[in-house]
Symmetry: C2
Subunit: 611 residues, 2 copies
């Protein structure tokens, strides 16, 4: 028995409807842990198989039946270790970026998949009609989904839970955006939690796979129960004592960052034209808590509870209940667009949740459309009457749902900012890296996060290496480029571990590598060390990069939008700064053992990746 | 040659893709004129054919390939006779009501169809993939429509005009609502004009027919050119001199009625719970003109120009251009719902136009949902956070587009009030007749219109017999039931003529039966008299009724919602009134020569309808 795992992964061929169980040998699990790591290993081998069959994966359409989706948990998922209800989803190729597809999500679904008896599910091929998968008490079954095709995530979840008479079952599904193959579509679970980036929802839609419902009473076994429980208690204590996980996040949710980041002058505003939003207070965590909060809503096993149940009681965007928005969504929908209207942000975020879209990419692309329009680059007839202007709350609400249903300018919003800005002849206006819209920290105010955006495998991403924890929330000088290569590398590799465990990145505010050893060791029984673990994280980061190289992505793609490299931050606490990317990047490559974004044979050998 | 006609009708079998021309003998044209009359004749024969094949047309699904759509012009369409850009569309069965499908629309498409060389088009069967029809310079062709399937009416129109390099071609099409088989879907032409009732758009969607683009330079011939031109001049003069067509409608559009109808206490408010809207001024024609009007936008050949180009410059529903809303849309979306917010009404009406839905049915159904919710009959989870409450502007905007895309409660809004209220267990809350939502005049304040609603063949409809012209805008006592049977019958039969000519019902404010003789005579060369013409109108009304009888609709369906028959108007200038329907209805049947809603054999014989 592999402790911490159910020992069973499910492969579903949606074309033939064949399903089979498979497993991984223990040494392989130790090399890749689970979650993202194991998915990357699987994708690597799958990519090689495709190449053997003569498929050109550089040219492959991300929505072709040849793409695959891997839903994955890890040894920590579903245990009593804190914040372990999460799972990771990966695809060989993203329809939004053309790079790898990858998303990590909270909620309860990950834990419930384990309770249903499985560690992960791989979907291959494409069903010719809409289907959904149920795994109840260890038994996987495919069902006709024509009755829920078209329904939003709320209706879909309710329908499936009623149909299977399991009111607390986990439901992972796509909304209309995924069905409509919107490149910004996500996979939602528990209605409001998202495997939220790189367009995974469109891949699910392309396979005619509407949902996966999971439930059961199975439990992953723990190798050293007593030691595990002692460590769980210690870890919970540390999380409660920490200022971020014990106070900031529980009290204000992730939106606690709005004021902090804005005061530091790196809150990207008006599509990154500045880093200061003069009315950010209106969309801050403090305002959210005071005027819109119903209650907290933690994920499974969470001791932080950053999740928010919210409502809008006044103004034009009244809504009696929804969840969120998270910091990133608030920023993208309300900050980058300069809207600063919490009601509109909550409504637009609600539509992202129920129609299944990524609020970061959607909000950022709306902001880019506003800048395109400000510069007179969108023909009036394309606007169809809508006032696509910075500060117009209505524009974010309408363009969000219009993206899900591919209507009017919403078609381009759903395509993401890179394709939209290319279409309107101004690619430089897209604030994205590798086609993925960057999140809510202007790297001119924190250089390390700039290096991370440039080098993160999935594109402009903060949760690949969240150096903000050190640069803004910690003591590291945010403006220097000294030491940022090592900082970024360490954060990235450590995050690869977290995403492979799978648990919550927020734990890392309070728990370090040693505590991760204290989790994984007792659960699996492995005599693992901090060094081995960090090496494992590095291995996962590198193998993911090797897949990127197969997709044609190299050093040329490890860059940032011109605005961040050349235009000085015009005002605020980061005034006058640009990102001096090149020296950081070269140092980073050296530390990584990469040449122009490609791991060297020596590095590959060192990491035992000659596979 | 049949003067006033092109002499060619097109039959398109969408299943086999076969197309053929056909025509009608002149005696038949004289018996049914054109437009609605000819369509009714065609439908009658088609229904008999179906019956011979063993199809049970009472049970037939309106969205089955057995249903047909007839786009029809008449002898006046496309001539220089005023306001003759219109056409009529009919179907054997409506997906909204189960009764006959029928809609009349303005714009230019009707005239352009003639210029393209055809008088009408019948669509049979169902294409297995999306197609559109072009008729350019007499040549009909079917084309793949997969590139425009999903597009709204603006994008569809633009795409087709560019594709065919005919920027001024007429485009009749469905939006997403029709594609999504929403029973309240309409067929739109010139983006903002609608064959707007009984769900014709869903029938077009069920046939996978996206659009019909028409253009050309052909012209219907006039039998007596000189006489025709003299009469045209006289008619134009009369229209200009008339208070309604020469002043009220041109100045304020149809919305001129808001204040008039409200002051008379028959402006249905809060789903017909009262006839007085205390804030109607906010959504009046005067307010529309003062704050929202860009310019007038007449239909082809129109001397009235009630059409409005509008914008919203302030508040949350900003839009830089759209058209409308008409009186009925303002009332349904903004009066019946008690919203009284012109910005929200304009936005919701815009969504009806670009997604292709009937604002009367949509607005009325939203109002019914508000009453259901007020009475606690909609489970909270069905609301998905939306505040479905009288007076909430946001509810009308959101529920309108949600109806088009079948999302959440929008699913039921799109189904219409009858099905929705049955679903929520309160059928009496649906303010509809024969399943069609009634328009903007509470018959407790004008008894004749109540009789018309009850007996109009297509259901709760004002433009089948607009007795308001006499009862509120004219001198006839609106509260008496005396003489209302005859008034209604005359209005209905006269309207059948107008809709068969085809031209605009508004002409009848200024032009009577004699003027219609003066139009039709010179155009066709027929020595037609007023008596023959009125008899023709009666013939058309009766044959349409005979189709209804085949569909199982009889006297039991000629009724009104209980609220109008039993609840006294609670306030205002119509306070204390109910509709004394039964005596009017019996008198009407007697005048009509009907028994319990069914034409007697004697009447059928008299009207030469033994066909």
């Amino acid at each position: 028995m592999n402790y911490g795992y159910m020992g069973k992964w499910l492969k579903v061929n949606l074309s033939s409807k064949e399903m089979s169980d498979f497993d991984f040998p223990e040494d392989l699990l130790r090399k890749f842990i689970g979650g993202k790591g194991l998915a990357v290993y699987y994708l690597w081998n799958y990519a090689k198989e495709l190449e053997k069959k003569g498929v050109n994966i550089k040219e492959m359409d991300a929505l072709s039946p040849d793409n695959i989706l891997f839903f994955s948990t890890g040894p920590v998922t579903g245990t009593r270790s804190p914040n372990s209800g999460r799972h990771h989803v990966m695809a060989l190729k993203s329809p939004l970026t053309g790079s790898i597809g990858s998303g990590n999500t909270g909620g309860t679904w990950g834990a419930k998949l384990k309770f249903a008896g499985y560690d992960g599910i791989v979907f291959e091929g494409k069903s010719d009609t809409p289907v959904y998968l149920s795994i109840i008490d260890g038994k996987p079954e495919l069902h006709d989904a024509s009755e829920i095709w078209g329904k939003n995530t709320m209706d879909t979840t309710k329908w499936l839970q009623e149909k299977h008479e399991r009111k607390r079952a986990g439901v992972s599904c796509i909304g209309p955006a995924g069905e409509n193959l919107v490149p910004c579509a996500v996979i939602m679970n528990e209605i409001h939690r998202a495997a939220g980036r790189t367009g995974l929802g469109a891949i699910m839609g392309s396979k005619n796979l509407k949902a996966i419902i999971v439930d059961g009473n199975a439990k992953p076994q723990i190798a050293k129960q007593e030691e595990f429980e002692t460590k769980v208690k210690e870890h919970v204590e540390k999380l409660k004592e920490n200022g971020v996980t014990g106070e900031g996040l529980p009290t204000y949710g992730t939106a606690v960052l709005v004021n902090i980041i804005n005061q530091n002058g790196l809150f990207p505003t008006k599509n990154w034209q500045t880093g200061v939003d003069k009315e950010a207070e209106n969309i801050s965590g403090e305002t959210l808590t005071e005027k819109y909060l119903i209650s907290k809503h933690p994920c499974w096993g969470c001791v932080v509870a950053c999740g928010r149940k919210t409502k809008v009681e006044l103004g034009p965007y009244k809504i009696s209940f929804t969840e969120g928005p998270e910091y990133e969504a608030i920023w993208a929908l309300g900050g980058s667009t300069n809207v600063n209207n919490m009601g509109a942000v909550i409504r637009a975020n609600h539509y992202c949740d129920i129609f299944g879209m990524d609020p970061i990419s959607i909000g950022s692309t709306i902001a880019a459309a506003m800048e395109l329009n400000e510069k007179g680059l969108i023909p009036e007839e394309d606007l169809q009457g809508l006032k696509v202007e910075f500060g117009n709350p209505d524009a974010i609400v309408e363009l969000t749902w219009m993206a899900a249903f591919r209507q009017g300018l919403g078609y381009w919003i759903g395509e993401g900012s890179r394709k939209m800005c290319e279409h309107y002849g101004a690619p430089e206006i897209s604030m994205s890296v590798k086609g993925l819209e960057m999140p809510a920290y202007d790297p001119r105010g924190a250089k390390g996060i700039g290096l991370n955006y440039a080098t993160a495998n999935r594109g402009g991403c903060h949760v690949t290496g969240y150096t903000i924890a050190a640069e803004v929330l910690g003591d590291v000088d945010r403006f220097t480029i000294e030491g940022k290569a090592e900082l970024t590398k360490t954060f990235q590799d450590f995050t690869s571990i977290v995403n492979s465990c799978v648990n919550c990145l927020f734990l890392t505010f309070a728990l370090g590598l040693d505590e991760y050893v204290e989790m994984i060791g007792p659960i699996t029984g492995w005599d693992i060390t901090a060094d081995e673990l960090l090496k494992t994280g590095e291995r996962i980061t590198n193998l993911e990069r090797m897949i990127l190289n197969k997709l044609g992505i190299t050093g040329k793609d490890d860059t940032l939008p011109k605005r961040l490299l050349e235009e000085k931050m015009p005002e605020g606490a980061s005034e006058g700064q640009i990102v001096e990317l090149e020296p950081m990047k070269q140092e980073y490559y050296k530390l990584r053992g990469w040449e122009d974004g490609v791991p060297t044979p020596e590095k590959i050998k060192e990491l035992e990746l000659e596979i």
